[in-house]
């Protein structure tokens, strides 16, 4: 643990992520304006001392909206990855531990979900379920769980051959005891790395879906839907798109940078292991 905190890359990304989470939680106190406040006299104002990031087509302050927008984006990222992790790790550990027909079924199911390019699957599910944040999150979970299932299964197969696991089973420990006490703690590192990269990817995909108009609706401040609203005015008021996009990039970069640093710090063996996300 102390080793991890010595890593400069991890420290730097944690500071940035901490700042973003702080901004999201305290948006109500920190933001200079009310995000619902329309000021039709001051529409599409370029950045100035009154409005650091300018104003949008309804005269709302962009800085304020970007701060509130962090709430939606971070919430979607954490929630989707938590649920996907729970589903994926459960299925992956069961498949890896028991093997046989259970493994076959779970892995063919995973392969089937992986066969769809993620954006098409997420888009199709969101589109058919209907637009909106909850449906978008369901669609993203349908895409994201496979990553954790594969990583968990691979790591479980690895742990299963270790002496202490075999010894534990030999002295009569139950399967569930072995899975919880021995397998889970040993697969946690790759799962955590994938979770960090996964949050970044999910935020990016969610912003993409909202940008296309299928995710979060424009009434809620969210970075992707802000970009969607700014599209119409991109040549006359580029700041409408510039700042929300910049925040998406910073956030995703921080999660990726954190995951990358974690990979280096947690395990030397994993240094050259390329764990790729789904999006």
């Amino acid at each position: 643990m102390i080793e991890i905190l010595k890593n400069r890359q991890i420290i730097l990304s944690l500071i940035i992520l901490g700042g973003l989470i702080f901004m999201a939680v305290f948006a109500g106190v920190l933001a200079p304006y009310d995000y619902k406040e329309k000021d039709l006299q001051n529409r599409q104002q370029p950045p100035s001392s009154d409005h650091l990031f300018g104003t949008d087509h309804l005269g709302r302050d962009i800085l304020t909206m970007v701060m509130y927008g962090a709430r939606a984006s971070l919430f979607v990222g954490f929630a989707v990855v938590s649920v996907s992790l729970a589903i994926g790790v459960t299925l992956g550990v069961l498949a890896g531990y028991y093997g046989g027909w259970l493994d076959e079924i779970i892995m063919r199911l995973t392969d089937s979900f992986l066969a769809f390019p993620s954006m098409f699957l997420a888009l199709a599910i969101t589109a058919f379920l209907g637009q909106g944040m909850e449906n978008m999150m369901l669609a993203l979970i349908a895409v994201e769980w496979t990553v954790f299932a594969r990583v968990a299964r691979g790591s479980t197969l690895d742990v299963k051959t270790k002496g202490y696991v075999r010894a534990s089973r030999w002295v009569g420990a139950s399967n569930s005891y072995v899975m919880i006490k021995h397998v889970l703690p040993n697969i946690i590192s790759p799962v955590l790395i994938m979770a960090s990269i996964g949050i970044g990817n999910v935020i990016l995909a969610a912003a993409g879906l909202s940008f296309l108009g299928f995710g979060v609706q424009p009434s809620t401040p969210e970075w992707g839907s802000m970009l969607n609203a700014g599209r119409t005015y991109f040549s006359t008021a580029p700041w409408l798109m510039f700042f929300p996009g910049l925040l998406i990039m910073m956030t995703v970069l921080a999660f990726n940078y954190f995951g990358d640093g974690l990979r280096d710090a947690l395990d030397q063996k994993m240094k050259n292991l390329e764990l790729e996300g789904r999006f």
Binding site: D111, P117, L123, A124, L157, L227, M249
Partner: protein, 316 residues
């Protein structure tokens, strides 16, 4: 041995193909509302009961779910994905034409990606653990973190609005390079970042191998060692990354084609969703999934064939 492996892998495809066809088809049933009513509803909100019934019968929507699925599946196997609700055109032809346009753009994007990724990946590996390596790796992380829709607009603002070098969007006849440069660059830079990381780690791996020491020991110049021996071998795992990049490019096509008005499969899916053309959405999604599955299948085979020592089941 190798043949057995290939046959086993091919057999794995069958349940997956059946399952993805079922998933694509079921999508329509998770949608709230009756597609026939949605299609026949006039802009004022009302619909004619007789017209809805006629639409149902014309598109087989009056039959039970499993009959509809089996009919659709039987057609899909021979390349008949049904007819569009909107244009009444065969879905398969429309999807195929759109896919050809996506392919044109993807090939250009792939070239751009390789041109960026190979030199940076090699330099990063050779300068392993130096500032240069750190900078290259950071750029790669940066590349995968940029939202492609944002990058697209920033490039349009710079190259079309400010500099007037390139058209902001458009399709032309589908062959003019001026319309392709911006979208292909947006798609290509993202994949370049993914590829660069892969080339770097694969190059690092190869540089530690015995035959590199042998080549050096023979007194060959470092340049020849790197190009002839290291890079050639390091590019083998990169075949798999091209498979990965196809996924990346297809995913990117949804947003990028929509922004640039490129008549590819991503644009087709978005348009079909907006116009409730469910047959077209089902067909496009299934088509893309099958193509993606087959590309990954062949990439896997080539990878195993090129690496005789790796004869393992890549799922385990």
């Amino acid at each position: 041995m190798l043949k057995d492996y290939f046959i086993r892998r091919a057999l794995y495809l069958i349940p997956v193909l059946i399952f993805i066809s079922f998933m694509s088809f079921s999508l329509i049933y998770i949608a709230p509302g009756d597609p026939a009513e949605i299609m026949m509803t006039s802009p004022s909100g009302g619909y004619d009961e007789a017209a809805v019934e006629a639409f149902r019968i014309a598109h087989g929507l009056d039959q039970p779910f499993y009959i509809q699925y089996l009919n659709w599946f039987k057609g899909a196997v021979v390349g008949n994905f049904g007819y569009s609700y909107m244009s009444e055109q065969p879905v398969f032809e429309t999807v195929l034409n759109a896919f050809k346009n996506t392919l044109t753009l993807s090939v250009l994007a792939l070239v751009i990606a390789l041109v960026i990724a190979i030199p940076f990946g090699v330099v990063s590996a050779l300068k392993h653990n130096t500032v240069v390596d750190d900078a290259c790796r950071f750029c790669a992380l940066f590349g995968v973190s940029i939202p492609n829709f944002w990058q697209a607009y920033m490039m349009i603002i710079l190259f079309s609005v400010i500099l007037h070098w390139l058209p902001p969007s458009g399709f032309g006849h589908g062959t003019e390079i001026s319309y392709m440069i911006l979208p292909a660059t947006v798609l290509g830079t993202g994949s370049a970042a993914v590829m660069m990381r892969m080339i770097r780690s694969s190059m690092l791996d190869v540089m530690g191998k015995e035959y590199i020491q042998t080549a050096r020991g023979k007194g060959l110049s470092e340049k020849i060692v790197i190009i002839r021996h290291a890079l050639k071998n390091a590019l083998v795992p990169v075949i798999t990354v091209i498979g990965l990049s196809i996924g990346f490019l297809l995913n990117g096509s949804v947003v990028v084609e929509t922004i640039f008005g490129w008549s590819g499969i991503g644009n087709l899916v978005v348009d079909s969703i907006l116009s409730h053309d469910y047959m077209m959405v089902q067909g496009s999604v299934l088509f893309v999934a099958v193509i993606f599955l087959l590309i990954n299948f062949f990439v896997d085979l080539v990878y195993v064939w090129a690496n005789p020592e790796i004869r393992y089941d890549r799922n385990s």
